[in-house]
């Protein structure tokens, strides 16, 4: 086994420049969207990878890449895959970085071991296994990086989608957009209550124009938020109830009797102004 890896390693270190050229040629030919990453960057990553692979093969005895010896290679592949994931490459494009080195290597192996087919086939089998492992590893890292991106976006969406705005002195508005689930209700509740403390608001208008459907669970979450606000001493008004939603609420038997409900945010705002003792009037010269 050590003999064979020595062979592969020799080829990599002896023909490094040639390998790099044919690897680059392969890479750029399979790469559909050339605009995302410059060829120079490819070349830089590839020329960093090759010598590292040679030194690692020198120390290693098998095609298993999860050992300590391979940690440098894994590090390099980590960086490459993660940056590809961020730049929006497809998994195939990412894995091709590794796989397109295969055929140039096979070519040189074939030339070097032309006289012993037995050795050649063994060497090719070994190289193949090794590169499959490396390729699978890049895919795994790529996948993890994508999952991280999705998680971060979910978190950002959660924070972005729950703004609490101050409409007037002592009047807050909470325009809800999208479906309310438990996690979001928690965030909505926390930000609303904190804003009540910060502004000393007496009335909060919860506008559900942007909530596509109201089922029993969503209604329960709404009622929870209203109860919590009431415990803090602020009244809530639900506004933006569409006709279908009003029908659904009654059909489901949800009890909104104790809550002030209005069809539009404007109506709710008028009630809020009355409650806080403010009035708005048109100036005469404009009418």
């Amino acid at each position: 086994m050590s003999n064979k890896t020595a062979k592969l390693e020799n080829i990599i270190s002896n023909y490094q420049a040639e390998l790099l050229e044919s690897w680059m040629a392969n890479l750029t030919s399979v790469l559909v969207r050339r605009d995302k990453i410059s060829e120079a960057e490819f070349r830089q990553q590839a020329s960093q990878f090759l010598p590292l692979l040679a030194t690692t093969l020198n120390k290693s005895v098998g095609a298993e890449i999860d050992t300590v010896i391979w940690s440098d290679i894994r590090q390099v592949l980590n960086e490459i895959s993660q940056s590809r994931a961020r730049q929006g490459f497809s998994p195939i494009e990412t894995a091709n970085f590794i796989f397109s080195l295969k055929s140039p290597l096979f070519n040189y192996l074939r030339i070097a071991l032309a006289d012993s087919p037995q050795n050649l086939s063994e060497e090719i089998a070994f190289t193949s296994t090794l590169f499959d492992n490396l390729g699978l590893y890049t895919i795994e890292v790529y996948q993890k990086a994508r999952e991280q991106i999705i998680q971060r976006q979910q978190q950002e969406l959660l924070e972005l989608s729950t703004p609490v705005v101050q409409l007037w002195k002592n009047v807050l508005a909470l325009p809800l957009i999208g479906t309310l689930d438990s996690a979001r209700t928690q965030v909505v509740m926390e930000s609303l209550l904190q804003k009540i403390v910060d502004t000393g608001a007496l009335i909060a208008i919860i506008d559900i124009t942007g909530v596509p459907t109201v089922d029993t669970l969503v209604a329960q979450h709404l009622l929870k938020t209203i109860s919590a606000a009431r415990l803090m001493g602020a009244d809530c008004i639900i506004s933006g109830i569409r006709p279908q939603i009003a029908q659904t609420i009654v059909h489901l038997g949800v009890n909104l009797e104790d809550v002030i409900t209005k069809a539009t945010l404007a109506d709710a705002f008028v009630v809020a102004l009355q409650r806080t003792g403010s009035t708005i009037s048109y100036s005469n010269n404009e009418h």
Partner: protein
């Protein structure tokens, strides 16, 4: 013996709870408060819990009971200064303290009592 002080502000009584409640303390408070409502002819009671980070079902029930007692003696009770985290916990526990008026702080609580329509 440990007691919770009851301060008088005109026609109103102010109770600030700052220590952990237990049975004895709650009984003493309810005793003291009902006595003071009668002797001071108070029309309103403010219970300030802004110093409490934790309100469990026991304190929740104690507050409801106290409010009910005050109501029988014709005094209105306003619970003031609840922390956001406490409000969320109480709602999750299903304790919405029906029948108890609430306000954000003592000042707003006094306004609420003075306006009289609870």
């Amino acid at each position: 013996m440990e007691r919770i002080p009851i301060l008088r502000m005109g026609q109103l009584l102010l109770v600030t709870i700052q220590v952990d409640m237990h049975d004895r303390l709650a009984m003493t408070l309810q005793d003291d408060l009902t006595t003071r409502i009668v002797s001071d002819r108070a029309t309103g009671v403010l219970i300030d819990i802004s110093a409490l980070d934790i309100v469990d079902s026991f304190i929740g029930r104690m507050i409801s009971n106290t409010a009910a007692m005050a109501k029988i003696l014709d005094a209105k009770t306003v619970l003031v200064g609840m922390q956001p985290a406490v409000a969320i916990t109480l709602v999750e526990l299903g304790l919405t303290l029906e029948g108890v008026s609430t306000a954000l702080n003592v000042e707003l609580g006094i306004k609420l009592l003075e306006r009289g329509h609870l």
